[in-house]
Amino acid sequence: MHTKVLLQKEMLENWRNKKWIWVPLVFLLLAIMDPISNYYLPQILESIGGLPDGTVLELPEYAPQDILLMSLGQFSSLGVLLIVLISMGTIAGEQKNGVMDLLLIKPISYRSIILAKWFSLLLLVWTSLFLGITASWYYTNSLYGEIEFLSMLLVTFYYGLWLTLVVTISIFYNAIIQTPGLVAFLTILTTIILSIVTNVFGTHIKWSPVNLSTYIHEMLVLGSVTSQLIATAFTTIVLIIIILSVAIYCFKKKQH
C-alpha cells in the first residue's frame, strides 16, 4: 500500500527530472554504437586514406553473436557507470538534505522506502536495457546476420540480472551512507573487487555473477541455455535478495 504510493512518487520524480527520457536514449546509443561503427569501419579507414595502394585491409569478420556481445560490453562499462551515477543519491541525497525526515515520521515501514527506491530504479534500468538490446538485435539482424528473437529475450533476461545486482549494491550503500559520491565510488569498487575475486579464484567460484556475460556468450554460440548459466542466474538472484534484506536491516538500524 505505502510501497505503491512511494513508487508512484519515484516514477513521477524520474519523469519530471527526465530520467525516463534520457536514460533509455543513452542505452540505445550505447547499444547501436558498435554495430554501426564496425559496419562502416572499412569505409571509414578508406576515406581517411594514408594507406599505400594495394594494401589489403584485413578486418575481422564478425559473427552476429559478437556484435550483440559488443553492445553488452558497452553496458558493462558505460552502462554500469551510468546506473551508478543516476542511483548514487536516491536515498543518500534525501537523507543528507533532510527531506527523508518527512517520510520517516509517517507510519510507513523502512522496507517500503527501500523497496520503492529499488523497484523504481529497476523499472528504469530494465526498460532501458530492453530497448537497447532490441535495437542492437535489430541492427545485428539487418547488417550482420540473424539471431533468434528468443535468444535476444534470454540475453536481456540474464544480463538484466547483472544490472539488477549493480542497482541492489548501490541501494545498499545508499541505505548506510549519506554521501552520494561515496556511494558511487563504493558501488563501483565492489563490482571491481567482485570481478577480481572471480578471476583469481575462477575455478572455485564458477557461479559468480561476474560470469553471467561469459555464459551468455556461451549460450549465444551454442544456441542453448547451459546449466552453468542457470546456476549463475540463481546465485545472482539469491545474492540480490540477501543484499536487499541487509540494506533494509541496516537502514532500519541506522535511523536510531
Partner: protein, 302 residues
C-alpha cells in the same frame, strides 16, 4: 487526563549527554512550549518523541494507544528546517503525505484542498514548492503535519526563521489548532511562548529545570519591579531611592530608573511619597509584572 507520558528519557551522543532523565506528562488540548538556550536538547527531545531518534534509555508512552498501532500516526511533526521535494506542487506533496498517513487518495485530495485553503496558500497549490517563500514552506510544513488530524502536533522552532508577518500568521494558526490537538513546540524566543502556551518546559543542558502551568510559574517568579522616568538628574533620584528601606536594588537603564523591591506595595508608597514631596519631574511611573524573560534569566542563571 493524560495524552503521553515521558519517563526517564535520556539521550547520549557518543560521550555527550544531550538529554538527561526527562520526565513529563502531556495532557490533551494543551499548548506546551519547550524553552531553552541553543544546544539545550530541545530538538533532540522532539526527535525522540517523533521516533526519528531512539532514546538511549527511557520510555515514551501514549495513553490509550492500541498495542499494534504505529505511534507515528498519532503525531504530526514539523522539523526546524523542513525540506520538501521541490519538484512537487504543494497540493501533490500534501496528497502524498496524506496517503502515507493511511488516507485513501480521495480523502487525501479532499483534506489537502481544505488545508491549502485554511493555511492560505490555495492560490499556489499547483505551483512547484521550489518557488515557495520561506513562510509558505513553513505553513505547508504545518499542513503536512496535521493532514491526518494527529493527537499531538510537534513543532520545532516553528516561527524563529520567519519575518514578522509570517510569524503572526503561524502563531494565529497555532492558536486555532490548539483547540483540536495538543501542541508541543520548541522556541528560544520567549515572546512566542508567552503569547500562546499554557504550559512551559524550561530546558538547560539536557535537563528540565522548571516546568508547569504558565500562571503558576508567573506567580512563583513574580519579581517586584518598578520603573520611573524623569526629565533630568536621574542619578540624584537613584541615590535617594536607594536609601528607602523597602527597595532592594536600583539602577539606571538609559532614561529609566529600574527598581526591584523587597515589598512592592511598600516600595510604591515610599517612592510616590518622596517624589510628590520633593516634586520630582516624573514623566512615567510603571509597576511591572514578571516577564517571561526575567523568569528565564533567573532560572537559567541559578
Amino acid at each position: 487526563m493524560t495524552l503521553l507520558t515521558i519517563t526517564n528519557l535520556t539521550k547520549k551522543f557518543s560521550n555527550k549527554l544531550a538529554v538527561n532523565n526527562v520526565n513529563y506528562t502531556l495532557t490533551p488540548q494543551k499548548c506546551v512550549a519547550l524553552i531553552g538556550p541553543n544546544g539545550a536538547g530541545k530538538t533532540t527531545i522532539l526527535r525522540m518523541l517523533t521516533g526519528l531518534l531512539k532514546p538511549s534509555s527511557g520510555v515514551i508512552q501514549f495513553a490509550n494507544k492500541p498495542k499494534n498501532d504505529d505511534a507515528r500516526s498519532f503525531i504530526g511533526y514539523l522539523p526546524q528546517y523542513p525540506v520538501f521535494y521541490n519538484w512537487m506542487t504543494g497540493m501533490e506533496f500534501l496528497t502524498f503525505s496524506g496517503q502515507l498517513e493511511g488516507l485513501t487518495k480521495q480523502e487525501s485530495v479532499k483534506r489537502a484542498t481544505f488545508l491549502m485553503e485554511k493555511i492560505g496558500i490555495a492560490n499556489t497549490k499547483n505551483k512547484r514548492i521550489g518557488n515557495y517563500s520561506g513562510g509558505m514552506k513553513q505553513r505547508l510544513g504545518i499542513a503536512q503535519a496535521i493532514i491526518h488530524r494527529p493527537k499531538l502536533l510537534v513543532l520545532d522552532e516553528p516561527v524563529s526563521s520567519l519575518d514578522p508577518i509570517g510569524r503572526r500568521e503561524v502563531l494565529s494558526l497555532m492558536e486555532e489548532l490548539k483547540q483540536q490537538m495538543t501542541i508541543l513546540f520548541s522556541t528560544h524566543i520567549l515572546g512566542d511562548a508567552d503569547e500562546i502556551s499554557d504550559e512551559l518546559l524550561l530546558l538547560k543542558e539536557g535537563e528540565i529545570i522548571e516546568s508547569g502551568e504558565m500562571h503558576v510559574l508567573r506567580q512563583k517568579y513574580q519579581t517586584a519591579k518598578i520603573s520611573i522616568q524623569c526629565h533630568e538628574n536621574l542619578p540624584i533620584y537613584r541615590d535617594k531611592i536607594s536609601t528607602l528601606s523597602s527597595v532592594r536594588n536600583v539602577y539606571i537603564e538609559r532614561d529609566t530608573i529600574q527598581i526591584t523591591a523587597h515589598n512592592i506595595q511598600n516600595a510604591r508608597q515610599e517612592i510616590l511619597q518622596i517624589a510628590s514631596k520633593e516634586q520630582w519631574p516624573l514623566t512615567n511611573f510603571t509597576l511591572h509584572r514578571a516577564s517571561l524573560e526575567d523568569m528565564f534569566m533567573k532560572v537559567v542563571n541559578e
